[in-house]
Amino acid sequence: MMKDEQQIKSQGQDVCPGKKSQLKLEDVRAEIEKTSGPQYWRSLEELAGTPEFQEMLHREFPKGASEWLDSVSRRGFLRLMGASMALAGMTGCTKLPLEPIVPYVRQPEEVVPGRPMFYATAMTLSGYASPLLVESHLGRPTKVEGNPEHPASLGGTDVFAQASLLDLYDPDRSQTVTHLGDIRSWDRFVDGIRGPLTAQKALSGAGIRILTPTISSPTLAAQIKSLLSAYPQAKWHVYEPINRDNVIAGSQMAFGQPVETQYRLEGANVILSLDADFLYGGFPGATRYIRDYANRRNPDANINRLYVVESTPSATGVKAEHRLPLRASEIEGFAHALAGMVGVNAGGATLEGEQQKFLAGVAKDLQGNRGASVVMAGDHQSAAVHALAHAINAALGNVGKTVVYTDTVDANPVNQTESLRELVSDMHGGKVDLLLILSGNPAYDAPVDIGFADALEKTNVGMRVHVGLHNTETAALCHWHINEAHYLEAWGDTRAYDGSVCIVQPLIQPLYAGRSALEVVAFLGGQANANGYELVRGYWQKQHTAGDFDSFWRKSVHDGFVAGTAFAPKNVAMKGGNVPATNVEPGDIEINFRRDPSIYDGRFANNGWLQELPKPLTKLTWDNAALIGPAMADRLKLKTEDMVELDVRGRKVQSPIWIQAGHPDKSITVFLGYGRTRSGRAGSEVGFDMYRARTTTGLWFTNGVQIRKLGDTYKLASTQGYQTMETPTGERPLVQAATLEKYRDEPKFAKEGEPPTALTLYQPYDYKKEAYAWGMAIDMNRCTGCNNCIVACQAENNIAVVGKEQVVKGRHMHWLRVDVYYEGDRANPSAHFQPVPCMQCENAPCEVVCPVGATVHSTEGLNDMVYNRCIGTRYCSNNCPYKVRRFNFLLFQDWETPQYKMMRNPDVSIRSRGVMEKCTYCIQRINEHRIDAERADTLVKDGTLQTACQQSCPAEAIIFGNINDPNSKVSKLKSLDRNYSLLGELNTRPRTTYLAEIRNPNPEAEG
């Protein structure tokens, strides 16, 4: 290990993650250019695919070194390099090589080498901002946290924000301006576009088209508007594959105008979700909603109740007290019926059996909680469902209480599908001369029947310009590609779900001199070499007329958002009249298209952290599969991993099958975003492209699907093979759960089987004498399985990505995993999420068996893992009943790529091949806080020291602290009746304990 760490120093010291050396950005750039210029890696990626290359590998290296067949073959190559270096390290590995140390020339005032700094900024996903605080070590952003000041975050984040750090350092990001694939300078582009622009001036821009994703940035919107005013005839089109057309249409239908719907879940005793996965990242406001939902999950206070009617099992669905699986098309019927029962929109049909009972239960419950309930509809449900939801909320008197309407966050709320269609027809009509595609990847993700890619390829649009982070499928079909600056590299602004404006502040100079969309638009608008900072500042200077602008600006930048910009609630009148039923063509099997829980619409395909992030229910990594219910699988004799061909009204796609308990019958769910062809080392040729079957008529779901078994199978990499606590010899009480009633008669039910703490022959070690005894409590009632903790942990602790082959072998490296356990009927099971970090057992079984004392107990009760002492016998892992230890079976860390060196947390060792690793309770944070406290002669204040998982958790389900302090939050939680130790009967005395899950079912809705 030691040797490997020297490797990293001896090459490219300036960017080494060693805590001491300093950053020189230009050197980094130089190095990046020389090591991985776009040409270099692209050709290598292409090469890696070819059979010749594979064949060569097998000639050069023995077959069966299957890492070679990884989708990430280049990393495999680097691993072998590193391994051989490690081997060289065998000899005299204790002598350190000379290490240079490079001070600043002029050190910035605020910089204290060795101490990180935090800056507020925000990430935008489909127009909705996640307000963030980003940690920076000597100018290198190293960790993304939520902005606790901002109501949309309150300190929480979602997986996409957490993982965006890796996007910044993605070595496959587009690194230069290109023209027809050749490297060009920005100036060449300037020359190139001058002609067309002047030409358009004459036509007042009749041939100019701008295609953007959903934009909520006031400054950018203003820039585009001014561009449009400079070219009055030019047109602005908007398209996102994960768009909210139905939401807009729904509010049009209900109110005659587009509005944004916000929910105030803290006030909701009863929540009904009509196919809305509002407890998982990607749903606007999810981070805040999770917090509000979790705050109402205290069984000792007023616990809320969640009903979910859904067409695809989701994290939200399995948290529900009552869940009703319905095919997507049937949900509208359910909504109609419900509406009828709460007295709006008469004429809703009634349902049978189960469904009717469920419906009746919900209806009664909702009416019993007028003004204290919420009915929400999923983005992919029909406009009618949204309209009905509005109507029902109105009828229940929720509007203004738990449901609030405001202006739309989207600056240009048009029907995006139509907008794109219009653009394509213009292209075919030869009306388009200059097409500017501002990020987004429509050539890959547009509905097939629109045929955007064809249009781009075949029609003669004089000049096609693509601005984007990656050199994508779309870029390949454009003349010019401009490498966009990542949000952590550029100035900008954006809006959170509540409309409040967040200032996007760069943490680092653009690694590849990229330009932000804002800057490009401004340039086209005639402001040569406009820079983002002035644009944003300038815009707000105009807005902020009253008072001292500088202090206002400084405050806004510092806080990360502009105070008082949240939208005011808006009074909108229901149009009244019945909501017409959407007519569905008859057809047997339905298919749902869903955003992927990990890689969203495909834009994160090259993000290794997200690719390897187990999806909340299937625990699948590196792939998408077609989900079907058990009944359907039995009928069609399909097994998980069987390949099938899905024929969606003539459009054929292939996919492996995953049998998902709780999936509605006669319905298939597929996930978008996979099967990218020009994504990068992690994302290219991974999974199956479902956009090929997605049409404007069936944007979210459609029926009439033919499913055909292909006969062959496809290996899927799931990190949890066995997903229930049931074993042939009885159920294991791993997750303690009960209904509210049971909990009330038997509060200590979870503790059964735990041995008395005095049960030992030995004199137990006395931790009470210490100032600190660290412990953690995880409230499974709050946890919604949002996966944040996993990515946060990965980012904080420099955890390696291992690739699909290794995950299949059972070697993924996550220090913290979220187990899911299904219970009950496979057709409609309930499920529990259980985050499992290291338990930090006081009687740690792993320690006793380590021959070299590489894992030992600290005086504060931590189970220390000393990587540099570990010789890798794996005995500790065998003896760990929780199997939380992870082993570097091969050289999983990438020691080569300079970008990764910049990204890593300098306070955490980079583990090398052959050593065990595991959760440390973020020992680096503990030490930092303890030392600061000691310098001030005080103790660490409760709550100031947070582990990475805890800090990122939007639900505040993970609480860490000093259990020697009876007043600490964690001590209080551990003193609750619900608190229990996992496998307590083994007397390992875990420091991590769980609060049992309590559900609050409605007897009348019991199926």
Binding site: R869, S909, I923, N927
Partner: protein, 231 residues
């Protein structure tokens, strides 16, 4: 018949018993090499772009450590002065000394000086200057007589056993906080009294014990816990 000569008797025994000593000697030699300056760099002056003399700046000019190593009290990293710090003075004095050309060059071209790290720990060791300063560990306790070093060299072996010497018995080393940066500080003896507040001390152990209480230095068991230094 005889196969071997008389001498082989002595020879054979000599080899058998000799082997024992040879092996022992080998182990001893390896242990010595491990601890030798060749491996540890202790006492070895490493090549530097500018022959900076701590002796001159500290003893000669009486500049305090913290003037250059600014973050030593607040951060894990003591801080290597930016070129600017050098130029504060050297823009006035020795303005055209050839020796200082690299410094001026760096300042002009805005390219950093590339020093060679003198006190270097492996990357899996996380040392924090601020806490050691705060607990009364003097600069020269670890860095040696820097004020007498024309060329800077690493004073101690910086091997784990060396760290443990102090972590196991801090009382043998620590001094009053106000003396931390005093290069001339000597441990108390019967004829050299050290005063802390109004208490006078004539031997280090007594002083050490008192300071441990005063600065509440954590007990050896705590600071020899692995995660104190390894993460």
């Amino acid at each position: 018949m005889q196969i071997f000569h008389r001498s082989t008797n002595t020879l054979s025994r000599a080899t058998i018993f000799g082997a024992v000593f040879v092996i022992a000697a080998l182990f001893w030699a390896m242990a010595q090499i491990q601890r030798s300056p060749y491996v540890t760099y202790a006492g070895v002056a490493k090549p530097q772009p500018v022959p900076f003399s701590h002796q001159h700046h500290v003893t000669g000019l009486g500049i305090d450590c913290r003037y250059c190593h600014t973050s030593v009290e607040t951060s894990s990293f003591a801080g290597i002065p930016p070129t600017k710090t050098c130029m504060n003075c050297h823009s006035q004095i020795w303005t055209n000394a050839a020796l200082l050309e690299p410094v001026r060059e760096s300042y002009r071209s805005d390219k950093s000086l590339q020093w060679t790290r003198v006190n270097q720990l492996p990357d899996f060791v996380y040392f924090n200057h601020s806490i050691h300063i705060n607990k009364g560990v003097g600069c020269n306790t670890c860095h040696g007589p820097v004020d007498k070093m024309p060329l800077m060299y690493q004073f101690a072996s910086l091997q784990m056993e060396w760290c443990l010497e102090c972590h196991r018995a801090p009382e043998k080393f620590i001094r009053p906080r106000e003396q931390v940066f005093n290069m001339r500080y000597e441990q108390p003896t019967s004829n050299k009294v050290v005063t802390v507040g109004d208490a006078k001390f004539e031997d280090q152990i007594a002083l050490g014990r008192a300071l441990i209480k005063k600065y509440n230095v954590r007990p050896p068991m705590d600071i020899t816990t692995c995660s104190t230094c390894h993460r």
